[in-house]
């Protein structure tokens, strides 16, 4: 029993991190109709940044994390300004550009950081006894609470602030949003930055638990796409629920069936959802 609960906890912890990463993809798809294939690379780069900032440059790990996320935010803004902005209106171009960028960044990571997994230092050590049932690593618990905090922040940002409302207005009717005075170029740029920063956040939060490697990036992008489709395009709630389902399925499946198939469980759920509810769990049917 306690074993099962531990796997379940693992699933939930992974689930919220999946959710953060997926919201990054979902925002960019929802607002700009751009699928960012380089999402996983941004995640990996953030992990490496936090590793090198804290190990090579001696920045305190707690500071290295937000600093890396901020770098990735700037990278995202730079990407939008230089590569994505000229492609608006033709979704095929941005698809090809982000795909090529993903390959370029992956190989850049191989050249710069090398092929070995790197793990930033833990922020906290030891383990906590959960309800007297099992011991759980403090680092994982901390990552979990940071992720929850970030999810709350994102929901607040999107639902309550002017920036969030302008994001939603642009994603519903870009032309009308600009007719009420929303600078949609700026919204695009900032939300691409935000999407990138969310990839980065997931990267720095997970890196102390699962070390990052340059070749791991494709799997990360795919996981995020699976969660977005699972939850339903454009739904934040869907990303959270989809992330949790995927996280739990992966961990329980790996524990009770086989670790060999860890990656496959997500795709099995995805296929089932696409067969029975193609608009996703929380998405809206469109014609």
């Amino acid at each position: 029993m306690s074993e099962f609960l531990m796997y379940l906890t693992n699933g939930i912890v992974m689930g919220v991190i999946h959710a953060i990463s997926a919201i990054g993809v979902s925002l960019i798809v929802g607002i700009m109709k751009v699928v960012n294939f380089a999402h996983g690379e941004l995640y990996i780069f953030a992990g490496y940044f936090s590793y090198h900032l804290s190990i090579s440059l001696g920045v305190p790990p707690l500071l290295a994390m937000p600093l890396s996320v901020f770098f990735i935010f700037l990278v995202g803004i730079g990407m939008e300004r230089t590569l994505i902005r000229p492609t608006y209106g033709d979704e095929m171009y941005s698809l090809i550009i982000t795909f090529v960028l993903s390959i370029v960044l992956q190989n850049a990571a191989l050249l710069i950081f090398g092929p070995y997994p790197n793990k930033p230092p833990n922020l906290i050590s030891g383990a906590t006894n959960i309800f007297g049932l099992y011991h759980y690593g403090n680092q994982r618990l901390l990552s979990f609470f940071i992720s929850i905090g970030i999810l709350v922040f994102i929901f607040y940002l999107i639902k309550k602030t002017w920036f969030g409302k302008s994001i939603r207005a642009v994603s519903q009717d870009r032309g009308m949003a600009s007719l009420v005075g929303v600078d949609h170029y700026r919204v695009n740029m900032l939300s691409f930055g935000l999407g990138a920063a969310l990839a980065g956040t997931a990267g720095v939060v997970i890196a102390p638990i699962f070390p990052v490697t340059p070749t791991g990036s494709s799997a990360i992008s795919l996981t995020a796409f699976v969660v977005v489709v699972l939850g339903g395009m454009g739904s934040l709630k869907g990303c959270v629920v989809g992330g949790l389902i995927l996280g739990m399925m992966e961990n329980l499946g790996a524990a009770y069936i086989s670790t060999m198939y860890r990656q496959i469980f997500g795709f099995i759920i995805l296929i089932l959802v696409l067969v029975f509810r193609p608009w996703g769990l929380f998405g809206q049917k469109t014609q």
Binding site: W162, S166, Q172, D173, G175, L179, V180
Partner: protein, 234 residues
């Protein structure tokens, strides 16, 4: 205050507006009448900066806005109720109104303007927390007008207000237009329904296949033989 001078507007290869000139003075209600496909909506969208003319000039409050982006024109105090309403369907009624007050200037008196809009359309107050897409057609039109008013516009462009509404609701909405005019909002009214529009305006322009063919005061237009035949069915 608004002056459109000899604009030629294209959509793709097709020329929609030909050497068109209209003007609207402070405090007026002016109407542009035209049948389907005469270029009414293109005219509105050119003023709003959605399309930019190949030739000609548009000025607002003495500033040239011919090639300005929509959001900058909106921030100058031009607001619109577009054809088909285009409310933000997945947001609540209240959030739609908030979006109308997006320009910095308007945010500071948000509470006050919401109160004003609610007094014009009491039904919106009742529906404040409801998702806008679930409103009826008439309520959505009221919401679209309410949203346009939230920025306390200097100039209000109304595109086909009566389209798809029952006569009773149309009457109600035109009653509101009258009230707005008493509150010194300048209005450019684009309509297909000539009787309705001319009854509420000082001056009018007749738009036919992208050209202004006639202009004059409401009385003159109502008395014109061609208009009586073609638009009023008399």
């Amino acid at each position: 205050m608004l002056e459109v001078k000899g604009i030629n507007v294209f959509r793709g290869e097709a020329q929609i507006l030909w050497n068109m000139s209209i003007s609207v003075e402070q405090g007026e209600i002016v109407t542009v009448l035209g049948a389907n496909g005469s270029g009414k909506t293109t005219l509105v969208e050119s003023i709003l900066g959605v399309h930019h003319p190949k030739m000609g000039k548009i000025t607002f409050l003495g500033e040239e806005i011919t090639f300005r982006s929509s959001f900058l024109i909106a921030r100058m105090g031009v607001s619109c109720v577009p054809e088909g309403r285009r409310i933000f369907k997945d947001m609540t009624v209240y959030e739609n109104l908030e979006m109308g007050a997006y320009p910095m200037k308007a945010r500071s008196f948000l509470k006050e303007t919401v109160g004003w809009v609610y007094s014009l359309f009491p039904v919106l107050r009742e529906r404040g927390g409801q998702i806008a897409g679930t409103l009826s057609g008439g309520e959505q039109q009221m919401l679209a007008i309410g949203r346009a008013l939230m920025s306390k516009p200097i100039l209000l462009l109304l595109d086909e207000l009566s389209l798809g509404l029952s006569p009773k609701i149309t009457k109600e909405i035109y009653g509101t237009i009258k009230k707005l005019h008493q509150e010194k909002v300048t209005i450019l009214l684009i309509e297909q329904n000539a009787t309705l529009a001319l009854r509420h305006c000082y001056r009018g322009y007749i738009l036919e296949t992208g050209r202004i063919t006639l202009q004059g005061t409401s009385q003159e237009l109502l008395g014109n033989e061609h208009i009586r035949k073609a638009y009023l069915g008399l």
